[in-house]
């Protein structure tokens, strides 16, 4: 297990480097929220989820929905490094004709299940997928990753109500609680705290973890799988821009890519000196 965790931590570091390089190349996209979510995404794609990059449509696969679709670079680097498409494709992010759209598009990208990017819609789609898989008695699980600012969307709570009502226990939501949104602190723009308590009131099983602690992420994902008769949410406290010191905890880096000057410094922060 120790080795697994160390390997996943290495993988997350590798993916952070890929995110920084990808966004530097595209000069457009969301850096902060991609870096805050990448540890969870790494744990899902390289440990927890059953999936087959050679057969993205494998019917028995676990499903992942990036409800906070602006963190698309984080999902794209995970998909590329898992083998869904060549890593070189990442350099085409957001370009005309690229299969890597600004926000996840299931029509374009192998491994992307649904279209997200307009916030608040992913949990509803994850519910539907989980219900469909349950109707077919498939053992698959569905994971939905949301932002904390995204919880301001009313549809999230409609979906939270429905997931509990229909006892969707093959569903696990993760909240990337980095405490920042475009206009500033979530707590100041429109407070969503206490997140775990809100979900509990809606009938969910709720856990709260450090979203950058790989062993805590794995333990929470394992635990979620044992919960029956209700959906589980993992509220992961994270740092926006995590891993690149001068991006960390800055709302101003929400939708800003690394500049030419920042690239070497960012790579240095990530222990990548080439």
């Amino acid at each position: 297990m120790k080795e697994t965790i160390a390997n996943l931590e290495d993988k997350a570091r590798e993916l952070r480097v890929a995110i920084v390089r990808t966004l530097h190349k595209s000069q457009s996209g969301h850096t902060g929220g991609s870096l805050s979510a990448i540890d969870m995404i790494t744990a899902l794609y390289f440990h927890k989820m059953r999936h087959d990059p050679d057969n993205p449509e494998w019917i028995e696969r676990d499903r992942f929905v990036l409800s906070k679709g602006h963190a698309a670079p984080a999902q794209y680097v995970a998909l590329a490094h898992a083998g869904y498409f060549p890593k070189e494709d990442l350099m085409m992010l957001r370009r005309l004709g690229s299969h890597l759209q600004g926000h996840p598009d299931s029509k374009s990208t192998p491994g992307v299940e649904v279209c997200t990017g307009s916030l608040g819609q992913g949990l509803s789609m994850a519910n539907g997928m989980a219900l469909g898989l349950r109707l077919d008695n498939r053992p698959c699980r569905v994971y939905a990753l949301l932002g904390d600012g995204e919880l301001q969307e009313g549809q999230v709570w409609e979906a939270a109500m429905a997931a509990s009502h229909y006892k969707i226990d093959n569903l696990c939501a993760l909240v990337d609680a980095n405490a920042l949104q475009i206009d500033g602190e979530v707590a100041k723009v429109m407070a969503v705290a206490p997140i775990a308590a809100k979900f509990k009131t809606f009938g969910w099983h709720a856990l709260e973890i450090d979203g950058h602690d790989m062993s805590a992420i794995l333990a929470a994902l394992e635990h979620a799988e044992t919960i029956k008769g209700q959906p589980t949410v993992i509220v992961a406290n994270t740092v926006k821009g995590k891993g690149v010191s001068f991006f960390e905890n800055k709302a101003s880096y929400h939708g800003v890519p690394p500049s030419d000057d920042e690239l070497p410094k960012a790579l240095e922060c990530l222990g990548c000196l080439d």
Binding site: R63, V114, S118, S124, G128, G132, A159, M161, A162
Partner: protein
């Protein structure tokens, strides 16, 4: 015209329940209106495949998209005003953009909702959905066509919007009617002008053509159930052969059938056109038949419109 009367929503409910027995992948979702939309008939037979989502249309639309992503064929129903109004962006982002195999079947379209009034009378839905890429938009005229359209939607992959009504309407089509997505049909021959009608207005257009016939005016009647993609051939033929068009719909004259026909003919073969419909107004309370008169949707209103285009054609 047969004296047989049936509401298109009733035909939908019965057909959906039949389809449930034929295809185990069909599921249905409703937002606390299953008794009115008639998805309750499906719910009764296949409770495990029916999801009442409560009064939460946005989540219902997204859940349907998720079910489609898992290989199901979801039929999503509520009133037109809520399906298109409350859940528009979910329809766009979660359903249309990914080309999800979701069938949005909205009932209580138009002003014949009646007494509930303007808040519940959807007069913009066709325009709003028609503007969204990937959507197929169908407005059946009667129970026979509704059954056929529902079956076609179930068999055809991709997102659909099917608009149905609350009240009983006369049956126009015989059981031998062959519905085809994207194809209009000529219901009466004529050479002086053409009525191009959809939904319950097709019956009004047939009545108007009969009135004109008594005056020696020959009016063609073309029924368009698939508003998108539009059957351009049948409309171009009508414009070229009769030289004047009156469109008729229980919807705003902005952006619906009249809009679609005017856009197409404006670019291909301009002829005098009059769009009969709701003239940029909200609905209001009243009995359905009173409202048909109030909003100018009766056969005599269509006759009046015909005279207008004939006068312009003669100039």
């Amino acid at each position: 015209m047969s004296s047989n009367m049936i509401a298109t929503r009733d035909a939908y409910g019965e057909t959906l329940a039949e389809l449930g027995g034929e295809n185990g992948n069909i599921v249905a979702l409703d937002a606390d209106l299953s008794g009115s939309t008639k998805t309750s008939l499906f719910a009764k037979k296949y409770p495990e495949r029916f999801f009442n989502m409560g009064i939460a249309e946005a989540n219902m639309m997204g859940t349907a998209a998720g079910l489609a992503a898992a290989g199901k064929i979801p039929f999503v129903s509520t009133f037109a005003i809520f399906a298109v109004g409350r859940a528009w962006e979910q329809m766009r982002q979660s359903v249309a953009y990914p080309k999800a195999n979701v069938k949005i079947v909205a009932t209580h379209g138009g002003i014949t909702v009646g007494e509930d009034g303007g808040s519940h009378q959807s007069v913009e839905d066709i325009a709003i959905v028609r503007a969204v890429p990937n959507m197929t938009v169908i407005v059946p005229a009667d129970g026979v066509e509704t059954r056929a359209a529902i079956r076609a939607a179930a068999a055809h992959k991709g997102p659909f919007y099917i608009r149905l009504g609350r009240n009983k309407v006369p049956t126009i089509f015989g059981e031998d009617y062959r519905f085809e997505i994207g194809k209009g049909c000529q219901l009466a021959t004529g050479s002086d002008l053409t009525f191009v009608a959809t939904g319950l207005m097709t019956a009004q257009a047939l009545a108007a053509a009969a009135l004109l016939h008594k005056e020696g005016i020959s009016a063609r009647v073309v029924h368009i159930s698939t508003i998108k993609p539009l059957d351009q051939d049948i409309i171009l033929d009508a414009a070229m052969e009769t030289g004047a068009i009156v469109t008729a719909e229980e919807h705003s004259v902005i952006g619906g059938l009249g809009g679609a026909v005017a856009e197409f003919l404006g670019e291909s073969h301009p002829v005098p056109i009059k769009r009969v419909g709701i003239r940029d107004r909200f609905g209001t309370s009243g009995k359905a038949e009173e409202l048909m008169k109030y909003f100018g949707l009766l056969p005599e209103d269509l006759v009046e419109a015909a005279r207008e285009v004939l006068a312009r054609k003669g100039k």
